[in-house]
């Protein structure tokens, strides 16, 4: 079995960030991989070897693949965390892309609020972060309910979009306790996701990173 399995290498930063869903998938599948983490200032030194000059990057038997959602979907398909029908797969993709749009809105003010990017720290929460949260999580709350409040956002088994949302909720509730109290079905769904044994194990032992 080991001879047939590809060798996997994941290159990213000392962060959970855009690589953590891939790491979660490897652990859930019980598949070994090389978990390479660079400092931000080291990335220019490896830029030439990155297809889009960016991380994360996955290598499968030496074949390179960039872009986090492409990586997540590829591994999810390989390991069985990609939904059980074409329509389900489309809905997983749709929620993942909606999530990506949300991250584009919420991350810049989040970084300013933390003082990691220049800007007016005091205004970010009320003016940017909370509205972005409310807009997106209202949709997610409905999605979780319409899916049957069954511990998943799409379908009835664990998928990569469950992990995407779970990791995001983990980070934001760590920084802002109570941040998502208005979205109880989302919180309940994430609690069930995070109780998945192999995921729980990884979350407890993984390197502690800023986000």
């Amino acid at each position: 079995l080991c001879l047939l399995m590809p060798t996997y290498k994941l290159t990213y930063l000392h962060l959970r960030g855009r690589a953590e869903i891939a790491r979660d998938l490897f652990h859930l599948a019980g598949v070994p991989y090389e978990d390479i983490r660079y400092r931000l200032d080291e990335v220019p030194t490896i830029s030439e070897s990155l297809p889009f000059g960016q991380v994360p990057m996955l290598e499968v038997d030496g074949k390179k693949l960039p872009q986090s959602h492409a990586i997540n979907r590829y591994l999810a398909n390989e390991f069985g965390f990609a939904g059980n029908s074409a329509i389900e797969r489309a809905w997983i993709d749709a929620v993942a892309d909606q999530h990506r749009d949300h991250e584009i809105e919420i991350w810049p003010p989040f970084l300013i609020h933390l003082g990691l990017e220049p800007g007016d720290r005091d205004s970010q929460m009320k003016e940017k972060i909370e509205p972005a949260r409310d807009k997106y999580f209202t949709i997610l709350e409905n999605i979780a309910k319409e899916n049957g409040s069954n511990g998943h956002f799409v379908g009835d088994s664990l998928t990569w979009v469950d992990l995407l949302i779970s990791e995001h909720v983990y980070t934001f509730t760590q920084y802002f306790p109570g941040f998502l109290d208005a979205f109880p079905t989302v919180l309940d769904t994430v609690a069930k996701i995070q109780a998945t044994p192999k995921l729980k194990e990884w979350m407890e032992k993984r390197p502690v990173e800023k986000f």
Partner: protein, 209 residues
């Protein structure tokens, strides 16, 4: 097995809906090309899953988000690459294109007439760097793929359609945008001359985007 009924709902424009329309035309699949004007949109917004368009309705089931729709149709009709890694590379290029659309958006909004701004300044400071960044990646990928008329693999994929159509819109606002990217231009030429696609392009409504 009977063919599903398809309805694609979007604004009267190419934008985020065109790649899906093209795959439906290329596969010879009948569909309702449901164009909703900006004026009528508020009436329909609540009936969409995320308050946005495009939405694909397949036998009454709605799918939102343009790339989820495109990938679904691509998988149905064989435009998603021939191996899992090829499909993943199509996805990666499409997402890189999406990042580019976020970068170039301030210019395009003014160019399309949806906002006020100094079009020339934005072209120089926003559009040209974004175009160069994306198209350098695309040119490299096209060459690595064997300069065979496709970005990935050896048959048409939805990223060939996505980039080719965008180039048609962009060049009306950024003249000579693609001079430095001859292999990408070849992909566009080969893609847009496919008979069923050319037929659609020649008869489709002419729209500002």
């Amino acid at each position: 097995k009977t063919m599903p009924t398809y309805k694609l709902s979007y604004f009267p424009g190419r934008g985020l809906g065109e790649v899906s329309r093209q795959m439906l035309h290329l596969s010879g699949t009948p569909f309702e090309d449901n164009r909703i004007t900006m004026d009528d949109w508020p009436k329909h917004k609540e009936s969409t899953p995320f308050g946005q368009m495009p939405v694909l309705t397949v036998d009454g089931k709605q799918i939102p988000q343009s790339f989820a729709i495109a990938r679904y149709l691509a998988n149905q009709f064989g435009f998603a690459g021939k191996t899992p890694l090829e499909s993943a590379w199509v996805d990666a290029l499409a997402d890189q294109y999406k990042d580019y659309t976020t970068e170039i958006r301030p210019f395009l909004m003014v160019a399309y007439g949806f906002g006020e701004g100094d079009k020339d300044k934005l072209r120089k400071e926003v559009a040209e760097p974004a175009i160069n960044k994306l198209f350098t990646i695309l040119e490299k990928k096209a060459k690595e793929n064997g300069s065979n008329g496709h970005f990935v693999g050896s048959s048409l994929t939805w990223v060939d359609l996505l980039v080719s159509d965008h180039m048609g819109i962009l060049e009306t606002h950024v003249p000579n945008a693609f001079t430095a990217f001859p292999t990408v231009q070849d992909i566009r030429k080969k893609t847009t001359s496919l008979p069923k696609l050319k037929e659609w392009i020649d008869k489709r409504p002419v729209t500002p985007f």
